[in-house]
Each structure stands twice: as structure tokens, then as C-alpha cells.
Symmetry: C3
Subunit: 271 residues, 3 copies
């Protein structure tokens, strides 16, 4: 059940515990995702050296892996970190940025899933289809494909790997086994700022750090992301001012904001 | 002829086609240039692994190479990507950040030009002089030298390599063979935000993706860059708020803005 | 003596000379620290290739080393750069991001200090304690430990290496030998934006470039950082808008702002 209370309980826990979220992510979004985690109330750390990732995972409450701007040495570091996270039992959240665009990225995603299945896999429709083995090629990291195109792929991946799968789009699809929830919060401006998908993935890491139900954590994160986006859009005159207001909105988010705006539907969502 | 109509036709094409611009660029500006391309209406992708750059170029409509924060492996990736771009016939735009400051950067620029001549080379006066073999040493990546100091070097490079050369400054000089156009749009605030030269280079990539006339594409990009800067400066209280308003201005730019503000002169600029 | 006049003299010198500050820093904050240096009036350059760092140091007036997102090749580059800076006699400012969190970072910090003692070492309390050999483990790069917990460690490091040590916190502690100054300027919002500690370190680089008294330079930088933060906080609605206003405040800072707000105390601070 995704409700105002379930969303808000997680936000309160994140703000109270400030969980350390270890990110091995791409160069483009490091600053943005760190700021989003800080604004939400979590504590971000970025570290990618093979010499230290295992030790850093040992301090963290969640591990976020993101394959944008991937290179082989970084993939090795992600594998080491993923194994360490699995051993410790902390959740892994995986973002297959650009899967389907190049063989490196598609194979890296499958390799990371094989090394240690993530608690949550989040991508756009093209990426999720590509990871599941579909033929659709992404145009880089953007995709206009609706989430419905990836519905079957998402359920297939969820059942095969026991993970929650999020397909981002105007309406986000959160899949776990045969169940699904749709989160309809958001604004088109989220698509006009780079790294907002990666930011959603990072926020899922913070929610998964405080909530062992990965499907609920993912749905809560997508709802908070979308609601903060809606609040920011009301103050923005374009994508530049939107980004600044988005961080403000994450930091200022109140239970009343969630109650007034939460839009979820599905077999696990109730009033 | 650089006119309101010629500038605006390109903007409309970029917004309609959303060309994929593949950037191999420096760490400092990746986020900024991705946001600028998104705000303009293009679709940015950053990828630098030697294992995937050829494949990514295969999806792109333009390739932007930028040697800030260069290291040898990244130079190898740029060479592979440049060859792939040449084979496919998509335009290459090259930014020789810091050429003249270190031998690595000067030699890397010359090597990249030798591997595959760019459609457009854009730098500040010191960088262009250094690439042409002049003795002027840059103070890092900033330069107060006026564009006129680099006029001869720009024409020499343009004739030698058959490329358009842009010398950025308070007035931008766009050179192709013996012809030249000057774009006088802009604001001093563009010099107070890091990566605005790199952003100009990235925007040239988007314009070159939709306009096979590289000199026109470069002039259009510099005009749009400058006009967006002027619009942002009117709303800004300093370089921080300027950057946010700059992205807004790129996204909101109208034909009326271009008509009211375009300032070009030269033997290829009319009415 | 840290006074309005001593702070302002340095700001005027930075704005007049625009010293080139060479940064070898982490991916997360490169953009932010470059913008802060530009806003202050300095000239930032980022370069990390072992092939060029010595040459780049040769052009610079200060070297800033920051071990966030460290990897072994970057450490090698930092060592080469540190030796070159020592040979040239330009100040080194070192930020031991995450020292204590992993062995790589703790050892790297000690190695860099051994290669060439910095003029200024700046960290939070946990990092400074870890560098001095204390057992306290940091939770990543954030720390709630007050600066007093690191007072003894700071004096020990200062005496052992002849450097100024800054412990950042709600009140910043600036230590040189047996002397110390406390700077009480700032706002909690500085802790809600990523890289603000790293930004303080970068600003110290600019001040050290124009002031050979490293303790004064460090105290002046921390005061300017804090005052710009206070000015920005008055205009901000959260961490996103705060960051934009912070850059504006650095660029617009006036002597009257310093006079009205400077809060320092200690055996080297006088009205």
C-alpha cells in the first residue's frame, strides 16, 4: 500500500537517520545526485576506486550503481562493491543508463545483475526493454517510449531476478513480481534537466536504506521525486530555475504536500 | 548570410529533430553542457570508453570533442570517435581548452585535427593562436586577448584544414577560408561562469547537426548563446542566478528575441 | 590579526590579480569550485594528467589538492604536482576528503603531506582527527563532530608539519602552531549543498595565492565563505536557490558586507 502515511514515514526516517548512500555513478550527474540526496536528508558519498569501494560499502546503508560514462575499471569497482553490498545485506539500486545504446552498457547491466541482483532496477522504457533482451535500440539515454511498452519486460526482469523494476516516464511504473503500482506525479520539466532519472535512482537508494520493502521504497521515491518536481515547476521559468527550486522543494517537502498531491494507482496502492 | 530567419530556422530544426550530440568532454562542464543542449532542444549523450565510443558515434548526429581535463586514454577515445564520425560523415566540433598552456593539450589538438579535421574549431584567442603555432602562452583556460589578435591564425587554420574557426571573445569571430562574420551578442557574465566557452562549443554541435553549412551553424550558435546570455543577464544578480536564467533563456528563446537582439556583421552577414 | 581591513585587502588583491589556482580535485565538486573561484575573482584551472600537471603548476599561483573520488593515478598526479609546487614555492592547500573513512584516503593524505607539506590543510573534525592518527571513523565525508574534538589534533598537525590547519564546522577553527583563530560566520545551509567544504578549500587557495601568511589567508577565506553564505541564506528558500545566491554573493561581496558581519575571535584576531 502506497499512501501518504507510508511515503511520509520513509521521509521522516531518512531525515532522522541521514543514511549514508554510496554512489558509483556517472560524471555528469555526481553533483546533482549528491545535492538531491542532501536535500532529501540523506548523506551521499561518491567513491569508485577499486582500492576502497569495499571499505566504503562497509559504512553505507545503500549502494547506488549507475553505468552512465562507464569504463571497464569502473565496472570492476561496481562488481566489487555489489558483492560487498550483497554480503552485508544492504540494498543495491541499479541504473542501466544507455543500456541498448551500446553493447558495453547492455552487457555491463546484465553482468552487474548476475554478480548481485539489485533490490531495485530503474530505467526508462528503452533501457528496461534492452536489459530484458528486447531489440529496441535507445537513442542515447533519452526515450520517448511510454512505460507500457516496457511493462512485460519489467515483470519478466522482476520475476527472473527477484527485484523491483521501475520504468520511468510521464507515469512511472513500479513492478514487483506480478504486482505493479503506477505513480503519476511529475512534470515535463524533469525531462529538460540532465540527470533527473539518475537522481530518481539515487533517491530510491535513500528510501531503500530505510525501508526493506523495495517496491514500496521505489514507489515512495518516485512519488517524492514527482511531487518535488511539481512544486518546483510552479516556481520555475524554465529548466535552470527549475533545478534550483527542485532541490529547495526536496528539502522543504511536508506531509501536507504529499497528502495534497500523491497520485498512485495499482494493486498495491490504496487511499 | 546570418539573419534572424537563418538563425531561427536552425533553432526550429533542433527543437523538432532533437539531434543526438555525442560529447567527449571535460569533467568540469559535463553537467552544464548537457543541460545547455537539453535546454536548446537537442539530446546530449556523454560517453568516453574506448570500448563504446565508435558505437555511440553511430547513433549521433554530431560529435563534440573537448580537451579540458584531458588524459591519454581519453585522447585515444577521441581519436577513435573522430575517425568514426568522419566515416559516417557527421560533423566534429573541437574545443582546444587550454591549448598553449601545456604541451599535452597543444599536441592533442593538433593530433585530433590531423586524425579527422573538425567542421568547427572553437577556442579563445590564445588557444587558437597556440593551435596555429604561435608562441603566446595562455594563462590556463582564460584569456583576455581580443579576438583580433587571433584573426590571422584563425584564417590560417581555416584554410589549412578546411574548417570553420570560431574565436570567442566579447565579439566572436567566425572564420571560414577568407570570409568572416562577427557576432556581437553576449554579456560579461558569460565569462564569470565556468564552462561557458565549452557550452558554446556544445551548442555549435547541435547547430552543425542540423545545418551542413558549418560557418552558418557556428555563427548561429554563437548568436543564440549570446542572446540567451543577454536575456539571462537582465534577470540575474550575479553569476549564480545568471546560470539558472541562462538555461531558462535557451529553453524559452523566441524568434522575436532573435529579431530584437541579433548583432552580426561581416561579409557573410546581411539584414 | 584578522580584521575587516586584512580580509578586504586580500579580496581586492584577488580581484586585481586574478591568480591562477590549479585544482586537482574530485569529480563531484569540480564545477562548483571552479564557479566559486571565478565568482571570487580568481582564475581556476583543473588538470590531472600526470603528463601535464608539472607544466600547469608552472603557470599557477597556488595548488589545491582534494582527495574526494581519489584513485591511484590521480594520487600520482597530485604527488608530481605537489613536488613541482614546492620547488616553485607556491602554496599547496590540501583537502583530505573522507580521511578516516577508508585506508586509501587516510594513507593518501599522509603521503601527500610527506611529499610536500601543504601551506594549509582543511577538513572537518573527523578528517583532521583521522589524519593525525586518531581512531575516530568518519561517516563518509560528513561529520557532526564539533571542531573542539579536533583542536588537539589540529595543533599537533600544525606543529609537526609547519602548516596551517583549518577545522571546518559551525565555527571554523584556524590553527597555526600554538595560535588559533575562530571564525563564526556561516549558515547551516552551507551543509546542505555538496562540495561546500571543498569550495572553502579552493577559496583558501585563492587567498594563499595573494597572501604569504597562510594562517591569515585561511582565516580570510573562511570568513568570506561564511559571510557569502549568510548573504545568500537571506535570499534563499532552500539549498538549491542558496547555491545560486552564494555565487552571486561571492561576486558582489563588498567591504561593507565584511565590516557588518565579520565574526572572528582568538589570539590573532583583533577588531
Amino acid at each position: 500500500m502506497v499512501t501518504t502515511a507510508s511515503v511520509w514515514d520513509d521521509v521522516v526516517r531518512i531525515r532522522a537517520r541521514s543514511p549514508l548512500v554510496h554512489n558509483i555513478t556517472n560524471y555528469v550527474v555526481m553533483n546533482t545526485t549528491a545535492n538531491a540526496l542532501l536535500a532529501l536528508g540523506a548523506s551521499p558519498v561518491m567513491a569508485h576506486a577499486v582500492e576502497e569501494v569495499e571499505e566504503m560499502v562497509g559504512l553505507a546503508s545503500a549502494l547506488v550503481l549507475n553505468i552512465g560514462t562507464l569504463s571497464p575499471l569502473w565496472l570492476t569497482a561496481m562488481e566489487i562493491a555489489a558483492r560487498a553490498a550483497q554480503t552485508r545485506g544492504i540494498p543495491i539500486v541499479l541504473d542501466p543508463v544507455g543500456a541498448g545504446a551500446t553493447a558495453l552498457r547492455t552487457h555491463a547491466t546484465r553482468r552487474l545483475i548476475a554478480v548481485a541482483p539489485p533490490a531495485v532496477l530503474r530505467g526508462n522504457a528503452s533501457e528496461i526493454i534492452a536489459v530484458a533482451g528486447g531489440a529496441g535500440r535507445t537513442k542515447g539515454v533519452d526515450s520517448a517510449a511510454g512505460v507500457d511498452a516496457a511493462q512485460a519486460a519489467a515483470h519478466e526482469l522482476s520475476r527472473a531476478h527477484g527485484c523491483t523494476v521501475v520504468v520511468s516516464g510521464p507515469v512511472d511504473l513500479v513492478v514487483r513480481g506480478d504486482g505493479e503500482v503506477r505513480v503519476a506525479n511529475g512534470t515535463p520539466l524533469l525531462g529538460r534537466v540532465t540527470g533527473m532519472g539518475c537522481t530518481a535512482t539515487a533517491l530510491i537508494g535513500a528510501f531503500a536504506a530505510v525501508n526493506p520493502d523495495s517496491a514500496a521504497a521505489a514507489a515512495h521515491a518516485m512519488a517524492v521525486m514527482g511531487i518535488a518536481g511539481e512544486l518546483a515547476a510552479e516556481l520555475a521559468a524554465g529548466p535552470g530555475t527549475f533545478q534550483a527550486h527542485f532541490f529547495d522543494a526536496l528539502a522543504r517537502l511536508s506531509e501536507a504536500d504529499v497528502r495534497a498531491r500523491l497520485k498512485v494507482e495499482g494493486d498495491e496502492a490504496r487511499g
